[in-house]
C-alpha cells in the first residue's frame, strides 16, 4: 500500500528571492519529479546540524519533467520565511545539495467527472495549486468544456503570485486582497461566496490551500452549497512518513495523520479544534 519513498541528495539548481519576500527553490531530483503529484510534498533537511533538528515539509509548486539524459527532472518549491528553518534555507547557495524525502502523502484527487474546477489559494497556499492547475489544464486540453477558476487571496498586492502563469494555462482568475490593493477587497472566501452562483448548475470541485481560518470558512461554504472541497492541511511534523504519529488531525473517522493520510483531505471530514 505504501508507495515508494526516495531519500535523495538533491542538487540545488537555484534558490532565489522573488517579490513579496518569498523564495523559489529548484532542486534536481528526477525520481521524485517523475512521480510526485499535485498536493504531495517533500521533507527537506535544512542543514546537517542538530539544530534545527527536524526536516521541514514543502509542497511542490512545479515539476520540470525528465527530458533525456542531460535535462534531469526538477522540482520547484515556493516558500516564505516564517522562522529559523526557512531563514536558513533561504541562505543555502546553488550547487550545494539538500537531503530530501519524497514523494510524501496523498495529493489532490483530480475529479475528471467535474466540469468546473475551483482552485482557492490563501497566501502561501498558492504553492501546490500551480502544479495542480498545470495538471488540470492538461486534462482540459483533451476536454475543452472543462473550466478552471482560480481564486487567489493575499494580504496585499505585493503578495499575489502566479497571476500570469495561471492565465497562461487558460484559467479564469480572480484576485482578492485584504486591503483592496488588487481585485476584490476582502477575504478570498467572501469572493467565493459572491461568485458561486455563477457555477450553480455545474458539477464543481473545490481544491484549496491556505491558512486554517480560510479552510474553516471554506468547509462551511462548501457544505452549505453542497460542493465537494479538498483542502491541503499544514501541521508540525517530525518524520513526515507516518511513523511518529505526531501530526495528527481530528476527522469524522477519528484521528488521521496529516503526513500520510493527508495532507489533502475532504473538507467535510475535518473536525476543527475549538478555540
Amino acid at each position: 500500500m505504501t508507495s515508494k519513498i526516495y531519500q535523495k541528495n538533491a542538487t540545488i539548481i537555484d534558490n532565489f528571492r522573488i517579490n513579496g519576500g518569498y523564495y523559489k527553490l529548484i532542486l534536481a531530483t528526477p525520481e521524485i519529479a517523475d512521480r510526485i503529484i499535485p498536493g504531495q510534498f517533500v521533507h527537506i533537511r535544512i542543514n546537517d546540524k542538530t539544530d534545527p533538528l527536524l526536516r521541514r515539509p514543502f509542497s511542490v509548486h512545479r515539476v520540470i519533467k525528465n527530458k533525456g539524459k542531460f535535462n534531469k527532472g526538477q522540482i520547484e518549491i515556493l516558500y516564505g520565511i516564517v522562522g529559523r528553518g526557512t531563514e536558513i534555507l533561504s541562505k543555502v547557495s546553488p550547487k550545494k545539495k539538500l537531503d530530501i524525502l519524497g514523494p510524501l502523502g496523498n495529493g489532490f484527487k483530480i475529479g475528471s467527472e467535474y466540469s468546473t474546477h475551483i482552485l482557492i489559494a490563501g497566501g502561501m497556499g498558492v504553492a501546490p495549486l500551480m502544479f495542480l492547475a498545470e495538471r488540470l489544464s492538461k486534462a482540459k486540453a483533451k476536454n475543452p468544456k472543462q473550466k478552471i477558476v482560480v481564486l487567489i487571496g493575499a494580504q496585499t498586492k505585493r503578495k499575489i503570485f502566479c497571476e500570469k502563469e495561471f492565465k497562461k494555462l487558460g484559467c479564469d482568475i480572480r484576485i482578492s486582497t485584504d486591503d483592496g490593493s488588487n481585485g476584490f477587497k476582502g477575504r478570498v472566501t467572501s469572493q467565493l461566496t459572491q461568485i458561486l452562483p455563477l457555477f450553480k448548475n455545474q458539477a464543481s470541485m473545490i481544491y484549496a490551500c491556505g491558512p486554517e481560518a480560510m479552510h474553516r470558512a471554506l468547509a462551511l461554504i462548501a457544505r452549505q452549497n453542497n460542493i465537494r472541497a479538498q483542502i491541503s492541511l499544514e501541521t508540525y511534523m517530525a518524520c513526515g512518513f507516518g511513523v511518529c504519529m505526531g501530526c495528527t488531525t481530528n476527522t469524522s473517522g477519528g484521528y488521521k495523520l496529516v503526513c500520510k493520510d493527508g495532507p489533502v483531505f475532504d473538507a467535510n471530514d475535518i473536525v476543527w479544534p475549538q478555540n
Binding site: K4, V243, G246
Partner: protein
Amino acid sequence: MNTAISLGTLRLKNPVLVASGTFGYAEEFKNLIKVERLGALVTKTITLCPRQGNLPPRIAETPSGMLNSIGLENKGLDNFIKEKLPHLKKLDTPIVVSIAGESLNEYAELAKKLSLKGISALELNLSCPNIKAAKIKNQRGTLISQDASATYKVIKAVRRSTKKTIIAKLTPNVGDISLIARAAEDAGADSISLVNTFLAMSIDIKSKKPKLANITGGLSGPAIKPIALRMVWEVARAVKIPVVGCGGIMTASDAIEFIIAGARAVQIGTANFVNPKAATDIILGIKDYMRINKITNINKLIGSLKV
C-alpha cells in the same frame, strides 16, 4: 570482525536496534533502508486495547531535540497480531515487541499472548510519561518505573507468563536510576534499556499557550544525550544483566560513547525521523571505528571506559 552480541537468549548480529515509537512497525522504512541490516527492531508500544492517543498538537521542536506527547496511540494487541505481525515475521531481523499495560494483569496477559513464534523478545515500556499508568499503585501520575517495588512486581508477573527475553525499559525521570535497575534485575529481567524520554515542556510566548495540547511531553534527541549517557553508565555499573543504551544517538560516535560507558547494545530513536538511514549508517560507522582501532570483537569495546 565480530559485532554480534547477546541479550538474554537473544543473539544479535550487531548491537544497533531501533527504538520503540520511532520506527512504527517497519512498513514505511522497508522502502527506505535495508531493515535486515539492523541488529533488531523494537515495535511501537502496543497495549491490550486500542488507544486513540493524545490531542494534537503532539510534537514541538526544541533546541537539538523534540517534545512528544503521542499518548501511546496504537490499534491494540489483536490488531497487531492480525495485521502487523505477519509482515514483521517476514523480515530477516529479530523483532522485539514493546508492550505497556494499565495494570499488572494487562502486562502479564500481553506477555502471554505474545509468546509467539517470530517474536524474539519483549520490551516492557515501564516508562511512558504520558499515560496515567499508576492503577497498579493506585497513585495518580506515577509511572511504574519511578517506583522500585512496582517495577519489581510487573516484571515478576511478566516473567511468570513468558519464556521470551524480557527487556525492561526505564524512565529517566527518577532520582536514583540504579535502584530501579536493580529491582528490574532481581525480578528476572534479562536486560535493561534506558532511557525513555525526559518529562519536559515548551511555551509559545505569543499565545502564552503550551506548545503541546497535553502541556507536558517527553524530550528526546541530541539534547538529552549527555544525561542519558551518564544514566547508562550508572546502571551498567549497578547490574550484571546487559544494558541497552538510548537517548539522542545520531551518529556512530554517539553510539560508541554509550558502548564504552557499558551499553551492550544501543537504540536509535529520534534520529530515524531526521535521517531514515541513521541506524544503518551507525552500524557501518561502528564497523569502521573497530577496523581503524583494530578491535576484532565488539565485546572488547563494551564498558571499556578508562577512569
